[in-house]
């Protein structure tokens, strides 16, 4: 008990903890769907995605993390193969 003060956060310092993050995937009303056959794995959508939600899957194709994807549709616009289509969530 006497050491409990050590557990208190230091004043005005907030440490990154992904468990506390808001689930921004809830915002989504349109859902991007990757056509894995046409996706060439160029990675252009990775950098432009505001949430950095897209990464390679095991076959080096785009794979979207729907916990954080807000459904803006930027990936579908930048895709040179038109492999990402926006559908209903």
């Amino acid at each position: 008990m006497t050491e409990a003060w050590k557990e208190i956060e230091e004043g005005a310092i907030i440490k990154h903890d992904i468990a506390k993050s808001p689930k921004t995937g809830d915002w989504r009303y349109m859902k991007p769907q990757v056509d894995k056959k046409t996706c060439i794995g160029c990675g252009l959508c990775f950098d432009h995605c505001p949430e950095a939600a897209i990464d390679y899957d095991s076959e080096r194709k785009a794979d979207i993390d729907f916990d954080v994807c807000k459904g803006c549709g930027v990936c579908a616009t930048v895709c040179p193969q038109k492999a990402i289509k926006m559908g209903k969530n």
Binding site: S21, C49, D55, V68
Partner: protein, 311 residues
Amino acid sequence: MNKKLTEKLAPGHSTCAGCGIPAIARTVLGATDDPVIIVNVTGCLEVTSTLYPYSAWKVPYIHSAFENGGATAAGIDGAIKALRKRNKIPKEKRIQVVVFAGDGGTYDIGLQSLSGALERGHDFIYVCYDNEAYMNTGGQRSGATPYGADTETTPAGKQSFGKTEKRKDLMSIVIAHHIKYAAQANVAYLGDLKMKAKKAFALEGPRFLLVLQPCTNLWKYPTSEYVRIGKLATETNFWPLWEYFDGKYKINWATENPKPLEEFLKTQGRFKHLFKPGNSPQIGGASEKVIAEMQKEVEEEWKRLVNMAEV
């Protein structure tokens, strides 16, 4: 989520869907392997990435007030120098101080502290994401708002065609401080932005990046379009990509046949009034005059830039 891209800035921030600001922050920070300290001036990036009790930042981060991004960076630079003298930080270890600020915190409110820090020659990088108005508070005009734009404080209507003043030429103000490196970039060209950030990180002293950031919410266009609209800004010469290094100007992207400015203006709700016939009786009901004036300004600016640049 993408592990490599989220090494410094994690998702879970609350920027509007389709906002390019996190892409700017990730691209700039991805260009260095040195440890970084982020100074973030009040603005969109600050309010969205630090929602109590969550912080999206995985690197040391300090929020300073609107007007003192430059001063905070200067203080951190001073502290690093003092710790080096006392051998608390090894001499060969480079620490990068990076300021992120919006156009309000750079063009207007933060200009004096930025000017001071540039003039004193502190070792820091200043990145301004320019969305051309105070977007975080609902889109009031700023020094960066272009002529003719409809904002909350310059509303277009029967008596007005939007903002009547031209945008401030911030790059010239910054370069006038005799700094080594300054560059104008665009979020739609992330490869170009990364190249510029890499160049900047390799140098010492004050360095400045001005990055165009189309705002989905208050430029009024669909959330999926920031890349297309950003590209149009450069293709119409509204936002040329160029850099200034050691007294020399260099244009990074040019075309022989720039698109007419209208193509860029038509994509956005903030210029919608310019395409309504019979609007703006104040200027004789001719919105075309405003567009012609904007086109003229863009052409003059481009000519000025070409004259300064080395081929």
